[in-house]
Symmetry: D2
Subunit: 352 residues, 4 copies
């Protein structure tokens, strides 16, 4: 039985992973660590877990937390937490899965670019681990994830955009300067931290673009697409927040220099993802919406072409808290511990 | 492996049961029957099922439907469908689980009262089965359900009200003429049939009481509570529809003739449900909402007393499509086929 | 032109009154006072007001705030703010309209009961004004409001319950110990203060009862209904919060000792409110919902009788921020300043 | 007093115009015509209008409808209704305002292109009126609307896109083949006609792109932008539907061939709209969302530039039923009848 310790257990990412692990046949939770609500049972805070996970929330310094056995330690923490603790975890023989930006980049330069862009200290605290880490998007880095001691779980927007454009980038179908990512997210993407803009009355029946001056996810997307393309991809990214709880819909545009039929584009995408059980590819007439992927680990891609102007258009649907966070995390944990990639994840959503 | 055939597979009740059965370790679907979309794969209509259930939708007369093996045939159909076909099913050696009002009553008189109240033909078409059937609320009729050839799955409002008041009725805590059931439901309770009042723009940011002149669920609730009480219980029932998709919250009031502390009331409820794994009982300070039970088979009961006037007040929370429909159905199927009651159902919800 | 100064201008109550006053033909805003965002224009914080109200937000001590002319000073502030400042306002020749509980009661004893019930200091700071003040529900206290120097605007739940039961209380139709108020509110009723329970993801697709141990609105409702009845009315009150922004639906039950037809009940209600232009009375078949009153000053009452048990049932619909707050406030300002009661308020809502 | 007759009075467009006209100081409704609910009062169907508009719904052939005086007859009807009746209306001396695509194009060729694109008969039934008609977007065609006997009210998506890009097109800031319109709409944009995809449970917590193969609004947008540009503009248009009731947010992208600062872009837009009171222009840091324009006639434009790739990005916010339909309609009626453009329309929204 694989043991998982969760640091930052009371945020949305932590809760999502707890929910998944209580249903997992080969993994179990060894300890929950958080800074708030220490001493309470997790099911006092989240009564839906009553009877499923009644573990106490421990302080990081609590010996029960320190000594809990772990094959994988998950940092469901903000930027610049995991990087300070990863070394100790590795020294104890466990692997590290980090939800923040700390281990999404494999060079100090790439990290510095990312950190600078959203106003963080550009100096990485564990540079010796960069290069040994893997970017935790299994569809692109399956083998690296299996081998790496440290994995950086992808950002939710980034996950949807990269999966949506990777096949076309790999095939060099488009002009690498022409990419536009128009992304729409439900409110849970911002986490559980209170903010005036996410107060229910302010958000109900309201939608808006935000952070128009720049968004940290751009780095991840450009880096991964550039890797696929073999040349620098540069894109315009717009984030919008909408009155749903869960779900990301990213509409992705790229200019092609010649005609391509929708059928051929669909075929190319299906071939690219033929070994990736959580990606489903559809043509433009399929009735796909975020409700097809909600509360699941699937990414549904709708492929179309605006033939009048040879523009490729992909609509990428994920659940931001599942494929965009806890689901990808469990997929990574499975890979990191030698379990089947889909274990504990192969469920449909529920309709309606 | 238990075989289940579903008649009326494309409604919310049918879909919900399909979703559960695709995850069930000991049961599987043998055929899907419906009147619409015949010939299509179910996953063409509901793409979230892609890869989980890709069975074709069959016409009732299709030999593949007729000949499909079945331990249980589920009628997820409107009133007065199952009663005409139940006999044939039994003759083939299968059991019947019906989602409508057809088999919720065990006498012709009780059925006639129910049918009359909502404008249906009061004559039951299979009177020879009444008395052999069981009311499919496992918490009150577990043994009868195991034995009965025909089970009538409860109505969603009725389920929430009966579970909320049965312990107090059984203990004769209240005046049997004083009961008020103030029930609030999400919109999915009305099913997938289109109606102007459930058109999204009309329902968004709107709530209202409806059917103030009478509601068919009253019969079920009065009958079951009277059975528990040993005397006629008569109640006022108000249904309200609110802009959620899933969830029922029923606030239940009953006048007691003497003081009772909340602690004693909670203890009495916990004792009553001590062998019922899907009922959780809380005092008035627990932070329970419909999100604690959403997409699960749980019924969460919050027990309180207005001590100034000796009024018992129970708030009963269920998911109308799970404990109120497909979840109870699977619980019944488990019991009817000798499987453990909780098999395939013991999952927490997902937050948020 | 009537001058209105608003203290606490940036909360929902203040904003609502600003919106109404920008459309009022005979009144205008002389100053906006608040503790947050001092120095900014109100339309920087609330861009929907751009071009309609661009006044600066002033500190209470700012001379521009102190010296702004005012016929009425509105305290859209929490409990125990207005009571300390009302005397000064009156000394300057203005009238006071207070949104909190400070001036909803006319005796020190009644205030102490209210304050105690929700954990506030029971000693009123301006006892010399109690008895001179009026309860600001125009439908019941029109003449007193015109004459009083200080008016206490009603609570939103209280407004819906009192309007719903006053005619029946006045006619002594029911047992005064039998009343149940089952109230459902949208989230804006809790104001703009952030709280985990009103964070969008936590509230979406979620409903719950709260404060089951007691709610401060009970005092107001019992006091006003007792006045109408001429005898003590005692009631059970349950508050529920639902995922809407605006709207209160209160379902009110009271036991009658003899039969009364719905027609007679409707007639009695219409007679009672025949001079109240903002109350509309309907029978049980009218398709009324909160969307009929949204963003308006109307209270729509649906009157029905459960004839099987002689129980009166009223469903009362208001917009909690309009008739439940800013709309009633403007209605009171009109009365206090000798303007027609409906001025600036006689608008329909918008559908859908 | 201007008289307005409304054909198709019971759809969302008709109701919206009724609501506005009941508040208009210089215009009134002379007759309401529809095919459904004939003989009922409009306020029986829409109780929020009770006391504001209680006119009967008339059949088109009813003499009261035929003989009702009218300065303007509004066709709030589907395509290919108004074109058959416009001639008669003009012959009686009234003007025509049509909500469909019938009079949005000024040549038979342009109409045929539009009609073909969404599967309608390409032959216009009143070709003699084409060329005399005006496109009813006041910000671009104010003088033409004043003079034209027939005005075609714009489509809601088109309105948001054209207002968002007209200044940049007029200034020839961008490559005319590079435009992308990524549009998001609330559900009311689809009108009151029932459809499975707009059933509340199917739409709640769901978002999707639709009509990926083409959308009729493209014609209008390309035509108007080409007129501003003086050269053919060709664009990719994607429509998305989201779980709100009202609101359109269109994110518009266009490739510039040289750098332009956000400040200069904002200045250019403000200059372009300096005489248009319903357009407000903001820089990228302003906290604008659809709630700033909801239930109002405003279009709020947020102007930004992705300087890394010289891409212009405009986010255009309107209420699809107001500036996108009934509000623009009243603005047009004011212009067509010589009234001030803003009469009856200059109101802020209500928050929250």
């Amino acid at each position: 039985m694989i043991k998982v310790k969760i640091i930052g257990a009371t945020g949305y990412g932590g809760i999502g992973l707890i929910e998944l692990l209580t249903q997992h046949p080969e993994a179990e939770i060894s300890a929950l660590v958080a800074r708030e609500d220490v001493g309470k049972r997790i099911s006092e805070i989240y009564p839906h877990l009553e009877g499923f996970c009644d573990l106490p929330i421990l302080d990081a310094e609590d010996p029960r937390a320190q000594e809990a056995p772990a094959d994988v330690v998950v940092f469901s923490t903000p930027d610049r937490v995991g990087m300070y603790q990863a070394g100790d975890v590795l020294a104890k023989g466990a692997k590290v899965l980090d939800f923040s930006g700390d281990f999404r980049f494999t060079t100090q330069e790439a990290y510095a670019d990312y950190a600078t862009r959203h106003g963080k200290d550009p100096v990485h605290a564990a540079p010796e681990l960069l290069g040994k880490n893997a970017y935790g998007l299994a569809e692109l880095h399956r083998e690296a994830i299996k081998a790496a001691p440290v994995v950086g779980n992808p950002g939710c927007f980034a996950c949807s955009c990269i999966l949506g454009l990777a096949p076309a980038a790999h095939a060099r179908l488009f002009d690498p300067l022409s990419v536009i990512c128009d992304c729409k997210t439900g409110v849970s993407g911002a986490g559980k931290k209170l903010a005036a803009t996410f107060h229910y009355p302010a958000r109900y029946e309201n939608m808006n673009a935000y952070k128009l001056a720049g968004h940290q996810h751009v780095c991840e997307v450009e880096r991964e697409l550039s890797l696929q393309y073999g040349q620098d991809v540069r894109l315009t990214f717009t984030a919008h927040v909408l009155p749903l709880c869960r779900g990301i819909m990213s509409t992705l545009y790229a200019q092609m220099d010649k005609a391509l039929s929708e059928e051929d584009a669909v075929a190319l995408y299906r071939e690219f993802y033929k070994d990736s059980p959580f990606v489903r590819v559809y043509g433009s007439k399929a009735p796909i919406g975020t409700n097809c992927v909600q509360r699941t680990n699937f990414c549904d891609l709708v492929v179309s072409v605006d033939a009048r102007v040879n523009r490729l258009r992909i609509v990428s649907y994920i659940d931001n808290l599942m494929k965009g966070q806890a689901g990808s995390a469990l997929q990574n944990i499975n890979l990191m511990t030698g379990l089947p990639e889909t274990l504990g994840l192969m469920r449909s959503g529920m309709y309606p």
